[in-house]
């Protein structure tokens, strides 16, 4: 039994098995909490049993499709953790969205399956299927609420644009395959000049698809609308697991295939990174919707991450630091993003998403603990010291400096400087007592305050949120566990 669990395929097999059993159980037991419990069980099993069990086996290839190494296992743990958090946040929330919460949890679990497959993919087939299992599940999760136009609008936009991006990516893969004759992630050597050009075109199209999923400028435009329209826990999942999975696969592809050795591709990626860092931060500046602020902020954060990717691809020579940076950064980004959306989920009530920034006015005096968590998350996203966000940003800075990527590092600095403004704006809004300052012009009716006296905040959601808030501070003060974990998995 134990030997079976140590097989590199075991995590995927058990997770699939759980999904199938869940389907049967949901049909047979007809209880609203079955799916919730099963999801927690499946993801908990993945995190607590599977991950430690396969850790010992080291790097192992499963056929041509999956490479279950420390890197993949790290993301497996990260996605399982984020999935558990999302499930816990969804618990009280989803029952309000629809009288049938069962499908939601099934979709959530399949999405995690897609994500863990993506992170282990070292072949275009598994890469495609992993991403699409994740995306298809997400389309339905975004459109999950049975009322309201915004979720549907968000789902429609995401589906059409993502479909176009997938097609572009597929066409790119086809061109790469046409040129190289292989679908595996590996360097393309000894191509004729013309095949090389075809491959470059293919890489460009593949990148468009990937950059779209990561919401990097100029392929970022769906992000704020989808973030705003989707239910808060789904947004949390989309912002973390979906992007993390694509980034994991992207990094693996970039390092395995050495595509960034091409000057043109490196230039393109660099331009995208700079554009994302600037555009994301500038566009978030005066937003009135907290979800949109976080959406633009995520665009900027993905831009920061690209610096790590460029470093990890060996530009500048310290590839190991780049990989380490990516993993540390994503961990930090997961924690702070989940915390921010956790607070939002906690404050959302029936039919009223806590989205409008004005609804947060005076939150410190109504809900000090939640406000403190959101403050920690905002400061962390801004990269203030003693939060995990600072550690993450410092890593990126170090990776960029080590690789002498000065243009990117400068964009990072400028972007972060702009960023501080809107993160602090959230904090100040929460501190300001309502009515202390006249409302800005052009706002016709003030939003009802979130988390008012009559609002009931689910205990479970609040508890999860507080844990995340503490994690932000704890890892900011003492990041060594994360760093050790990361270097232990990916180091020499």
């Amino acid at each position: 039994m134990l030997a079976l669990l140590a097989h590199p395929l075991a995590p995927y097999a058990t997770l699939s098995l759980f999904i199938v059993v869940m389907l049967v159980a949901v049909g047979a037991l007809r209880d609203r909490n079955v799916a919730f419990a099963f999801t927690l069980l499946a993801l908990g099993f993945l995190l607590v049993v599977n991950v430690p069990a396969v850790l010992g086996t080291g790097s192992a290839d499963v056929g041509d499709l999956l490479r279950v190494d420390g890197y993949a296992i790290f993301f497996m743990a990260l996605f399982a953790g984020a999935g558990i958090v999302t499930t816990l946040l969804s618990g009280p929330y989803v029952t309000r969205l629809s009288p049938w919460p069962d499908e939601y949890y099934i979709l959530l679990t399949t999405a995690v399956l897609g994500a863990v497959v993506t992170a282990a993919a070292n072949h275009f087939v598994s890469f495609l299927l992993g991403i699409e299992v994740l995306s298809i599940s997400l389309y339905a999760m975004i459109a999950y609420p049975r009322e309201g136009r915004k979720p549907l609008e968000a789902a429609a936009k995401y589906l059409v644009l993502s479909g176009a991006a997938s097609s572009t990516m597929l066409f790119g893969m086809a061109l790469i395959y046409m040129a190289s004759g292989s679908l595996a992630f590996e360097p393309m050597t000894e191509l004729s000049a013309n095949d090389n050009l075809i491959a470059d075109l293919g890489i460009a199209m593949l990148l468009v698809g990937i950059l779209f999923k990561l919401s990097l400028a100029p392929f970022h435009m769906w992000t704020p609308d989808v973030y705003q329209g989707a239910p808060a826990p789904v947004t949390a999942f989309l912002a973390t697991v979906s992007k993390g999975a694509v980034f994991a696969a992207f990094l693996r592809y970039a390092t395995d295939s050495g595509i960034l050795a091409s000057d043109a591709i490196a230039l393109g990626i660099g331009a995208v990174a700079v554009l994302s860092m600037v555009a994301g931060n500038v566009l978030a500046l005066l937003q009135e919707s907290v979800k949109r602020i976080l959406a633009y902020s995520s665009i900027a954060h993905m831009g920061y991450l690209l610096i790590a990717l460029v470093a990890a691809a060996g530009i500048g020579g310290n590839a190991a630091l780049g990989v380490e940076t990516t993993l540390v950064y994503l961990t930090g980004y997961f924690v702070m993003t989940l915390a921010a959306f956790g607070v939002m989920t906690a404050l959302s009530t029936d039919g009223q998403e806590a989205d409008d920034l004005m609804a947060y006015e005076g939150l410190f005096w109504r809900r000090p603990v939640l406000a403190a968590v959101l403050t920690a998350a905002a400061l962390s996203l801004a990269g203030i010291p003693l939060t995990v966000g600072f550690i993450a940003k410092f890593y990126v800075f170090a990776a960029g400096a080590e690789g002498t990527l000065w243009v990117l590092v400068w964009a990072l600095v400028i972007g972060s400087a702009i960023g501080i403004y809107y993160y602090l704006r959230i904090v100040f809004t929460m501190i300001r007592k309502p009515g202390e300052e006249p409302a800005e012009e052009g706002i016709e009716e003030p939003a009802p305050p979130a988390g008012g006296a009559d609002a009931t905040i689910p205990r479970l959601t609040a508890a999860v949120t507080i844990v995340l808030g503490l994690a932000i501070l704890a890892f900011g003060i003492y990041p060594t566990p994360i760093i050790d974990f990361v270097t232990g998995l990916t180091g020499p």
Binding site: L161, V208, P218, A264, V282, L321, A399
Partner: protein, 623 residues
């Protein structure tokens, strides 16, 4: 587990105390707050004691304890390490030991505080935070930690001076202390940055080794600059000339604060800084000379000023200033260990003096004017006795703790290669003055006719610490020097005898001072009032009283011009740069927002556009 492993507990205990008190200050009963507040420092003191015993048993070898590596990225690994050597151990002992006694005393002193009845827990929270910051300052082996501790104690000082925040004058005093010390802090920050830039490390011990290797015997200009910048920081924190003006005003804080922060510990941080960085000053003798001069001038000026003060705490404040002047002076003339020794003994007797004064003040319902006191020795026997002991130590009568430390300093000064006689002479006059103003204070406060009703209401928790401090002040000198011996490099202190003419004159100076004081203030052979009323006398008195005009000078030379410039520059020229930046960014935001139209097809078009751009880049058309 050896006692040395407990080192982490020394700063950790007050930090935990602070966190508990800070978070729960509204909910804790006073008793619990008192136990937590004083107990945490007590735990810390106990741990320090065990560490100290172990340290000497293990052969007094400097050791490190790694608390925690923040992170380790690309060769940058800011480790928070505690560094234990004789110097940091001596400082730790003073901070935790004297700190603990003062905390215990404060539980009594602040119990029925009528100005801030709600502030009991808050007071101890600040005090614990201060102890923590001060310990990090002396134990941290890292410029960054040193700096954070340095700023931390400054912050606590600010908070505690302004503790009675209802009175705007106290707020003003707190701000003044903060601003003036900031001037010094700026110098120090520059000095630390410069060290980091030149030596490339933030580890203190490593940087000192490097400094010796790089500069010693060669071009010492850099060491001189760094030394002077560090001296600037030390001068600000330790209230030395010319940044001394904040200390008398800082007496606005509660008396235990004055005892702990503004007498025993924080104000000696400057001494610690220079001692810690002594290699820099050994490399550059000019810098060391500057330290001596600053110390001598301060000690001289402050002792004259103390003579004419009427507020008991201000007398003690100026006396503190002059005693720290002694320490600087000692550092400057190369009596390194003696400086630290004096720091210790001074911490004992000055804390004793302040706490005794606090008892007097409390008994007189917050009366601080010495001329409204008088004849108190019968009414307040314990404060009188303890203050008397403190005074003779301050005046450095033979075989008290102050005598041992001060004697060594003066004799070392005399042996100074170039300015021995001047140094010794100045210090001797100041020693005379010290005895003189101490005598004046004692006579005015405790003898003569009683002018105000007094109620001694002190309990065990107040006179207990006084008793311990009395013992330390009297006996500290006997065993004390062994503690600091070998901490720092020293030129043969044991060589001279106590019976050379110079030594005898040095020893006699305090007696002379006391005698003169007794004649003038006790027997009144000179009519001081008449003298002070005369025109010249009055001018001199006002000059001394105002601290030799430094406040006036700064007011006219710095504060007013700055205020004037601020008024002129109300529209703020420099601000325009920021305003334009803000406007540009906002404009960019609005333009960018237009692209975010909400239209799906437009988004798709942008993707296609991005794809086309990518193609053009790949094909080499762009880039």
């Amino acid at each position: 587990m050896s006692g040395m492993d407990l080192l982490w507990l020394v700063p950790a205990a007050p930090l935990v105390g602070f966190l508990i008190l800070f978070v729960l200050h509204d909910y804790l009963p006073k008793t619990v707050a008192a136990v937590v507040g004083a107990g945490s420092v007590g735990v810390s003191a106990l741990a320090a004691l065990l560490v100290g015993i172990d340290y000497y048993e293990a052969g007094a070898e400097p050791t490190w304890q790694l608390l925690w590596t923040w992170m380790s990225v690309a060769g940058f690994d800011p480790a928070i390490r505690l560094y234990l050597d004789g110097l940091s151990l001596a400082m730790t002992g003073v901070i935790t030991g004297v700190g603990f006694l003062i905390h215990v005393y404060a539980t009594g002193y602040m119990w029925n505080d009528h100005e801030e009845p709600e502030g009991f827990a808050r007071f101890f929270a600040y005090m614990n935070l201060f102890v923590f910051a001060m310990l990090m300052l002396v134990l941290g082996d890292n410029l960054l930690v040193l700096f954070l501790g340095w700023e931390g104690v400054g912050l606590c000082s600010y908070l505690l001076i302004g503790f009675y925040h209802q009175d705007p004058a106290n707020g003003y005093a707190a701000r003044k202390a903060f601003v003036v010390t900031r001037v010094g802090d700026t110098f120090m920050a520059l000095g630390l940055f410069l060290m980091f830039r030149e030596l490339g490390t933030i580890e203190i011990q490593e940087s000192l080794t490097l400094a010796n290797a790089q500069w010693s015997g060669g071009d010492t200009t850099m060491a001189l600059i760094i030394g002077l910048l560090l001296l600037g920081g030390a001068v600000g924190k330790s209230a030395q000339v010319p940044l001394q003006t904040w200390l008398p005003d800082a007496m606005a804080g509660p008396t235990p604060v004055s005892a702990l922060i503004h007498a025993a510990t924080m104000v000696t941080a400057g001494v610690y800084l220079i001692a810690r960085m002594h290699d820099i000053f050994l490399i550059s003798p000019e810098a060391q000379l500057a330290v001596a001069v600053v110390g001598l001038v301060t000690l001289f000026i402050a002792s004259f000023t103390a003579l004419v003060q009427t507020d008991i705490k201000r007398v003690l404040a100026f006396s503190t200033m002059s005693q720290i002047g002694y320490m600087f002076f000692a550092l400057g003339v190369g009596a390194w260990s003696a400086a630290i020794f004096h720091l210790m003994t001074h911490a004992f007797f000055k804390a004793l003096l302040f706490l005794s004064a606090g008892s007097v003040i409390l008994a007189l319902h917050h009366e601080q004017d010495i001329f409204k006191m008088g004849g108190l020795w019968r009414k307040l026997p314990i404060p009188f006795a303890s203050m008397l002991i403190g005074s003779i130590c301050l005046a450095a009568l033979p075989f008290t703790s102050g005598f041992f430390s001060k004697d060594v300093i003066m004799l070392t000064a005399f042996e100074h290669e170039s300015h021995g006689l001047v140094f010794w002479g100045g210090a001797a006059i100041a020693a005379f003055m010290t005895a003189l103003y101490t005598t004046r204070m004692m006579i005015v406060v405790f003898f003569g006719g009683q002018r105000t009703e007094a109620h001694d209401s002190s309990r065990l928790n107040m006179w207990g610490p006084l008793l311990v401090l009395c013992a330390l002040s009297l006996l500290g000198g006997w065993f004390g020097f062994g503690v600091v011996a070998g901490v720092l490099p020293d030129g043969g202190l044991s060589e001279f005898s106590h019976f050379s003419p110079v030594a005898i004159i040095t020893m006699l100076m305090p007696f002379l001072g006391i005698f003169v004081g007794w004649l003038v203030f006790g027997r009144r052979i000179i009519d001081v009032e008449a003298l002070a009323a005369s025109k010249a006398g009055n001018a001199l008195k006002r000059f001394f009283f105002g601290g030799w005009g430094f406040d006036w000078l700064y007011d006219n030379a710095v504060v007013r011009p700055v205020m004037w410039a601020a008024r002129i520059n109300k529209g703020d020229i420099v601000d325009w740069i920021y305003r334009i930046t803000v406007a540009v960014t906002r404009g960019a935001h609005h333009v960018g927002s237009l692209t975010q139209s909400g239209r799906l097809r437009w988004y798709a078009a942008n993707m296609a556009f991005g794809l086309a751009l990518f193609f053009l880049i790949v094909l080499g058309v762009i880039g």
